[in-house]
Symmetry: C2
Subunit: 342 residues, 2 copies
Amino acid sequence: MSKLAKMVPAAMILGCAGAMGADWQTLPLHAPAPADNPTTPAKVELGKMLFFDPRLSSTGTVSCFSCHNVMEGGDDHRPTSIGVHGQLGGRNAPTVWNAAFQSVQFWDGRAASLEAQAKGPIVNPIEMGMPKLDLAVDRIKRIPGYQPFFERAFGQGGQVTADTIAMSIAAYERTLITPNSPYDRFVQGDKQALDARQQRGMQAFADVGCASCHAGANFSGPPMPAGSGFFMKFPTYLDNPYVAQYHLLDDGGRAVQTGKAQDQNVWRVPTLRNLTYTAPYFHNGLVKSLPEAVKVMAATQLNKKLSDAQAADIAAFLNGLDGQFPEQAMPRLPPTPGDLLE
Amino acid sequence: MSKLAKMVPAAMILGCAGAMGADWQTLPLHAPAPADNPTTPAKVELGKMLFFDPRLSSTGTVSCFSCHNVMEGGDDHRPTSIGVHGQLGGRNAPTVWNAAFQSVQFWDGRAASLEAQAKGPIVNPIEMGMPKLDLAVDRIKRIPGYQPFFERAFGQGGQVTADTIAMSIAAYERTLITPNSPYDRFVQGDKQALDARQQRGMQAFADVGCASCHAGANFSGPPMPAGSGFFMKFPTYLDNPYVAQYHLLDDGGRAVQTGKAQDQNVWRVPTLRNLTYTAPYFHNGLVKSLPEAVKVMAATQLNKKLSDAQAADIAAFLNGLDGQFPEQAMPRLPPTPGDLLE
């Protein structure tokens, strides 16, 4: 039995549970970390510096921050991102906020951890454009001011390697959590936290079946063993105008990576938190408004045609998932000494 | 008598004074502001948001911060910067740190104020690439979350205009000051703040004549009335290998802007603070190391050939001008609602 085939019925069972009253969970204040990369303040500090450092890109102009703007929604407000040399990417930048709660990373879930993910864009020719990870490592090594930070994070003699760079960035990303949304406060007992319309939308979200896939604390699926993602075929139902209008079949999704027919148009279920900040929507960023995105999902995934009022109610509920963004101090990046410039 | 002709002798007189002991000044803790744009916390807060907001560029990917990295030396560590669509600029990004103490802005001094400067890159086709300033204003207007910040900064009904955007950014930039460098502490009486080599370099800096142009608290020239810059011809002396090696005559400097023969290869005298962070050097960013830059300047501006030891001493002194960078909180940028996206 294929992974997908196993999962679809599971989601349907969850969907039935949702219709009777979903299992509403609040966002944890801390993200789990793998045993071999515990989150420490020293790693987080170093990871924040590296997250903001454009020297990890071939041109020295593109950092993780460039497409994952943590001063905003953790993405870039574009349909698809722009990397080095003005090159246009093929998919919408997923938010880095609460990414720590996704069991796999990237739209197609091809990275099993934040650590694995962090290395990807650096060597993607249309993102940060480094020909090899070693060249990025070499760049960071040539910045003497980084060395004490690697030692604090990884012990005396702490080496600058692709792994320690990725582990630091992942540690920082595990702190990018937006708790205490109106939804979270509502679930915790503050019945004023969501207004009447949002509460209607919350019930509709469960009744219509959205909660069957967008389950759990991060609304990105039920808990899964680390590295095994919660995937869905999108679009599942094709008899609606949205499939053509928004080019939903153009990108093969997970199949592009795996080459397997069963993965055609299969995607990781993304979080629904902070959607106010992350328009435009979907893997191709072609849907601008949230009520429209809700309608598209209902039609393509649940074969339901929502009224404007229903879609607006659900969108209002989803806006109640906007969390509190932690205050952050800007990192100070150490300079590359002139005589060590390439 | 041309402006340049008036200024060269003045600089020479200063040069003689420098040889006997330059007028060493420390960096003020506050920058002067024009009467019609007093620096207020509300303007600074808004200006910081706008400084970091890539939506001021046509692609939504380039902000002031992109080339003026205030997490580092206020520039971008590149010979010349890269703007929208991967386009390469023609000149090295000047640091934004202490720019408030420069009497004119840009390498060629074509902007008389930080306010005037701030509007330039937004509509420069190879920088932020907006076809018109009005389009940038429209972008910001379409972000409802900005409105309260404009009202706090400019009063009830505070309008989003090109002027209020520029005034806010300028107000933020006036807070980008790096005081308390070892040099400043030395001048204030802490005789341990510069080591013996740096003190030797300081004397050489005066004796050789560097202080004749790089005078004042910001090492960018004597105080001038706002809007009238302190300019110098560079290179002045052509009988040295550097002119050809570093293509010093290729860019006409101020003449490109004014079209006047007397402005050929004339440039604003830039600050020497925080050079540790701002390699590579000069308007074309072709000189990587600071001792080499010192030699180039001595040869082209003072017709002096420095020994390696002298250049290293002066470079050590200049590294003593690295100041304290203030801690800054990251701004939170309000989202563009999806249905208001272009």
